[in-house]
């Protein structure tokens, strides 16, 4: 088991955004989290990566407790994440966006006295990610000048840059046109073959095709966890999220 949460809980004032969530993610699997808007999916992610502290409960990564770690510490133990809203280094080229993220695990972060371009390994790694995400053609474009679809792709590329053991993707296809989404679905399917991932997504086409396990959140609580076929048949899930009675 690569990641486990125990009774993870977050209140915002009187609202319980995430309510005693227990989640287990096996290494080598793709674990999707689905649920209606406001179900607490992103809040749950933010607690995994230290963006917000939980009120209650714990997170274990490779059986080590990581609750309370800061975001940069979570990244250092090789958990990479993408954001629901694009969070890029807008005035820097695409390649540099990825290189900066790739540099985290390399030596020389405190090297003041050599030109960053003479530091090969992070640049090579950034090139590999560019190729994997099929964006080598826009390597020299400023991130802020890209189309929304390309920015979403870069958003995911940054999450992959530092070669994470676990990748968290927060709605990678959000806001995309249908054509862009088709491309992103294909890319993520490709990534899913070799990585352990937790994916928040509304695009059911993507969810059904990549997931090993699906967890359904509703009003901060887990209402079901299981394989895609189990989830599809679950009457409670159909009622809360998928709409209508079981087919």
């Amino acid at each position: 088991m690569i990641l486990r949460t125990v009774n993870l809980t977050k209140h915002f004032g009187g609202l319980v955004a995430v309510d005693h969530v227990n989640l287990e993610v096996q290494e080598g699997t793709v674990h999707s989290i689905i649920g209606p808007n406001g179900a607490g999916k992103t809040t749950f992610f933010n607690m995994l990566t230290g963006e917000i502290p939980p009120n209650h409960g714990d997170v274990y990564f490779q059986e080590k407790k990581i609750t309370g770690l800061k975001p940069h510490q979570v990244a250092k133990i090789r958990i990479g994440r993408s954001f629901q809203q694009n969070s890029l280094f807008k005035n820097l080229p695409v390649l540099e966006n990825i290189r900066l993220a790739a540099h985290v695990h390399h030596q020389g972060r405190l090297n003041f006295l050599s030109d960053f371009r003479s530091y090969g390994p992070p640049i090579d790694q950034a090139h590999r990610v560019l190729e994997e995400m099929e964006i080598t053609n826009i390597a020299d474009k400023k991130a802020g000048e890209l189309s929304h679809g390309a920015q979403r792709t870069l958003e995911v590329a940054i999450a992959l840059a530092a070669d994470p053991l676990l990748v968290l993707l927060d709605e990678p296809t959000s806001g995309m046109s249908p054509e862009e989404a088709v491309r992103m679905v294909r890319l993520i399917r490709k990534l899913a073959k070799q990585r352990t991932m937790i994916v928040i997504e509304h695009n059911m086409n993507l969810v059904w095709s990549i997931s090993t396990v699906i967890t359904v959140l509703h009003q901060g609580q887990v209402i079901a966890t299981g394989s895609p076929s189990e989830i599809e048949k679950n009457p409670e899930v159909r009622k809360a999220y998928l709409g209508g009675p079981p087919a």
């Binding site: 963006e51 990244a75 005035n91 390649l95 290189r99 030109d115 020299d140």
Partner: protein
Amino acid sequence: MIENALGKKKALIDKEILILAGLLLLVPLILPYKTLPTEIVIYALGAVSFNILLGYTGLLSFGQAAFFGAGAYLTGILLIHFGWHPALTLALSGIIGALFAAVIGYLSIQQVGIYFVMLTLAFNMLAFFLAYQWKSITGGDDGLLNVPRPDFSILPGIKIPIQGNFQIFLFVWVIFLLSFIIIRRIIHSPFGRILLAIRENPNRARAVGYNVIHYELIAFTISGFFTGLAGGLYALFMKMVPITAIELVTSTDFIIMALLGGTGSLYGPIIGAIVVKIASEILSVLWARWLFILGVIFVAFVLFMRGGIWGLLTVSWGRFTAGRPGGGGKP
């Protein structure tokens, strides 16, 4: 083509540095002022150091005069009371500037946004009142007077004359260029690129694994070192330390120079220092309320020309050469 994405590696000393050195050397030859060119270069060092924070890390520090003043007072005091070697006092000025910046920076970056800015401002006022009250050491309101400016030798037989106006200019010019070469290398180092990531998006920088506060603190310390060094040079050049050296107005001078010249480049603040110093020299003779004019110019630039003079130059140059609009100003 992909190599283009990151630009070319920069040598420590290249054409840019040689052109800069040549142009700065022209300043005392062209300007009809005896001491202004030296002051320009000292302020340019302060403005470039400030821009490490604003232009390259995204931190608007109003505390720079505290580092500048600390460096100036230390050099002044060591020269007056102990007669130390000027080169040593300058090095110590840099170190005390770095120390002040480390402490003030550490306390200020615990907050973000306007609270951060106000903290740097408050610490600068605190430093000013310390200098103002501690008359026996700093001379208070009257300034620290009678700082000697002796010629000195760095190695047996190599004498550095700094008593004449052009001699002190040359000395300051050399120190400036050495500092600039180091600052430029730091900006283009792996560390400098992390600062850029923080400027662009501190949250994402954190999420990919950088301890933002840690890097900001180092940026502060580096900025403080070179600002303190500039302060030391100022004491040596002025043969005194006026209380204004540590006053908020000196911080705002650096800010105005950097913004006017352009914060997107290392060269912008140098141009800003030249323009502001010459403009104030000319305008102050013409009209007692000359600061008003400078203020209007400044507002116009902040409102309409965010890239500053350097941005304007690079855009026009781009149009001129390629007939193509746009083009940043980030060498």
